[in-house]
């Protein structure tokens, strides 16, 4: 299949106004200048305005999937709305070739008093799909949603999971667009349904150019070929998926680092210092850690645990001195402990390190370093789970 370019975004910018009343008034003025057949672009910021998107450019071919990532308020949904034709850009231009299908808000057209079946037709209509087509695949839609027994009940009696399933089923099965826009709608509902969702999106992906917005990096890594990382409306990165995700985590963790991390030192410990031989490693590497302690009093039979946390703060790996059989006897004065952590069979990403030092009873906690050190795992290994079996 020829790789034709379906989406071309050139230097697109969009501004918003923070103040409600002023924003409404600007709306009136914008309409006025539209009616007067106004000039080309609106390059300057009026009072209260800011650039929600600033000079964004990229191209997308059929069969490619772009992951749009960034923290909240970075401008992702704005870009998606402009691509969907809901609002015009304030600078630049966008060319879209072919039909556009958007899965942005799946329940938007639903009327809760009507039944699920009736709402399927409504959703299809809103997406421009003729009734004949819906009739052809109605059974498939009902089957996909898993709502056979409830399809003729008013939607207001559905649970939120059911609504979401109906929304997804009625939106994705009826369209075969050239350009697909997805806004965080992927994989909702229970595990079985999510698998169906992934499959369907995979099908649509083969023949479309896809723009996918998500906060879940696993999904992005799974599905996308290229990422666009937006930071306060600016293109901070466009290119490889792994790099984009790295940059995203870096900024996310930078802001959290001070909040999260802490260190506590108590008697009989006087001071402690951790030294890693390196913090940027590749899959399967081993890190050597040198811990220096200064004790007021001896601590024989000390226990050390070193947990590793992923970017979501979930513990994914742990080193336990008792389990591996390393004896740590701390004497009065200066102590140096060598610990080797590895092989680290983790997927790429950032991992924060904790260090817990207990006395022999396991009750007293003379030293605890929480997330003060960050290991950056590089290289091509990525996947869904943090621990990647060797």
């Amino acid at each position: 299949m020829s790789k034709d370019v379906l989406v071309t975004v050139e230097n697109v910018s969009k501004k918003f106004c923070r103040d409600l009343k002023r924003s409404l008034w600007y709306g009136v003025k914008d309409v006025g200048s539209e009616l007067l057949g106004s000039r080309h672009s609106r390059p300057s910021l009026r009072k209260g305005e800011f650039w929600a998107l600033n000079d964004v450019s990229f191209e997308l071919k059929r069969g490619e999937c772009l992951g749009l990532i960034g923290s909240n308020g970075a401008g992702k949904s704005t870009l998606l709305k402009i691509l969907n034709g809901l609002m015009p850009p304030d600078r630049g231009r966008i060319t879209m070739a072919g039909s556009i299908g958007a899965l942005i808000e799946l329940n938007a057209g639903f009327n809760p008093i009507l039944t699920g079946r009736e709402n399927i037709y409504i959703n299809a209509s809103i997406m421009g799909v003729p009734k004949k087509r819906v009739n052809q695949i109605l059974d498939e839609i009902v089957d996909f949603s898993g709502l056979e027994n409830f399809i003729d009940t008013p939607v207001q009696y559905y649970s939120s999971g059911m609504k979401v399933r109906l929304g997804f089923a009625s939106s994705t099965l009826v369209i075969e667009p050239d350009i697909l826009l997805l806004d965080e709608v992927l994989a909702v509902g229970d595990a079985r349904f999510r698998a169906k969702c992934y499959n369907r999106i995979g099908q649509l992906r083969e023949h479309a150019a896809v723009v996918f917005v998500s906060h879940t990096m696993e999904q992005i890594a799974h599905i996308c070929d290229v990422t666009l990382f937006l930071e306060k409306g600016n293109m901070a990165h466009f290119g490889s998926v792994s790099e984009g995700i790295q940059k995203y985590f870096k900024t996310a963790s930078d802001t959290d680092a001070e909040k999260d991390a802490f260190e506590t030192i108590e008697y009989p410990l006087k001071s402690a210092q951790l030294c890693f031989d390196r913090l940027e490693i590749r899959y399967g590497d081993t890190i050597n850690l040198v811990a220096e302690f200064e004790n007021h009093q001896a601590m024989p039979g000390a226990l050390v645990r070193i947990p590793l946390y992923d970017a979501n703060g979930v513990g994914v790996a742990e080193w336990d001195s008792q389990r591996v059989g390393k004896v740590i006897d701390l004497e009065q004065g200066r102590n140096v402990v060598h610990i080797s952590l590895g092989p680290l069979c983790l997927k790429r990403g950032l991992y924060k390190v904790g260090f817990v030092l207990n006395d022999a009873t396991g009750i007293r906690l003379p030293y605890w370093s929480f997330k003060q050190h960050v290991i950056s795992m590089d290289g091509p290994v990525h996947g869904i789970a943090p621990y990647q079996l060797p």
Partner: protein, 297 residues
């Protein structure tokens, strides 16, 4: 801006792809393209408009016990009010060509069609806020669905009119067949004002609130419950009132068989249609700018 081709997933798409370009420029700079797009959307919105129409209607009446009877009650109430006031000489009018209750009923129904058409774009845009903010669909469909509702409600009330006419043994003149033209013009005028106000109502809720007040007053200076006269302040305002010729003209067609004011009837109608098209254009140009500023849920 959307045109879905439904093909089996295994086929490639050799045909030329439809291109859409988004720029900050006003769409008026490319009038031919704009015109073609408007026509395309109007046609594309047929089925969607029908779906909205059915959806709104079913939803509205499904939750009521009295069902469609609710379409009857407002006109009956208004008519009874005026009949009562007239009978007790509180509100006095000159002689009417047909019995007063029937006269008022006709006027009330025509007025009701007008304000229904006026309110419909505003009401529908309000209730479709979430959809407008998130989904790209031809917005003409909302307007058309509204027109459908207005016509539907009118047809139900027509039954009421037939009953009243039969009761009072009013004979329909030959010109009654031309009355639908007048009704269409009333709908067009209401729609035109509604479409012009709708974008503003999306931003400012003053529009809806103010409209309710204003329409109440407007009723009193329209020859609905009384014949048109040139005397007095009310009479003079009623003369200037653009809705008057349409109401008077349609009523004449239904009652006396000739137009008492043929000139103003016809050219008011003509201007209305022109302004309606202008309203459609403005609506279309304005909506994208307002969507981003709407308070959506």
């Amino acid at each position: 801006m959307k045109n879905l081709t439904l093909m089996k997933p295994t086929q490639t798409k050799p045909e030329k792809l439809r291109r859409v370009v988004y720029t900050p420029e006003s769409q008026l700079r490319h009038p031919i393209r704009l015109f073609r797009l408007m026509l395309h959307d109007l046609i594309a919105s047929r089925e969607l408009a029908w779906r909205f129409f059915i959806r709104n209607l079913s939803a509205m009446y499904r939750q009521t016990l009295l069902g469609y009877a609710w379409a009857f009650l407002p006109p009956i109430a208004t008519t009874l009010t005026f009949v009562f006031l007239n009978a007790n000489k509180i509100f006095q009018v000159s002689e009417t060509t047909i019995p007063y209750p029937a006269y008022v009923m006709v006027g009330t129904l025509l007025w009701q069609v007008f304000i229904d058409a006026l309110n419909s774009p505003i009401k529908l845009l309000g209730s479709a806020r979430t959809m407008l903010a998130k989904v790209n669909f031809p917005r003409e469909a909302l307007i058309l669905a509204g027109v459908g509702e207005v016509v539907f409600n009118f047809l139900i009330r027509l039954i009421l009119l037939v009953i009243v006419f039969v009761w009072y043994q009013v004979k329909l003149p030959v010109t009654a067949w031309a009355a639908p033209l007048g009704i269409l013009m009333l709908i067009a005028m209401g729609l035109m004002i509604g479409i012009l106000l709708a974008p503003l109502s999306v931003l400012y809720q003053d529009v809806e609130k103010g409209l309710a007040v204003f329409l109440g007053m407007w009723l009193l200076v329209t020859p609905v419950a009384y014949p048109l006269s040139t005397k007095g302040l009310v009479g003079r305002v009623a003369q200037l009132n653009p809705v008057s010729p349409l109401i008077v003209g349609t009523r004449d067609l239904l009652t006396i068989g000739t137009l008492s004011q043929p000139g103003s009837f016809l050219w008011t109608g003509g201007i209305t249609l022109g302004l309606l098209l202008l309203g459609w254009l403005i609506y279309r140009l304005a909506m994208p700018h307002l969507i981003q500023r709407m308070t959506a849920s």
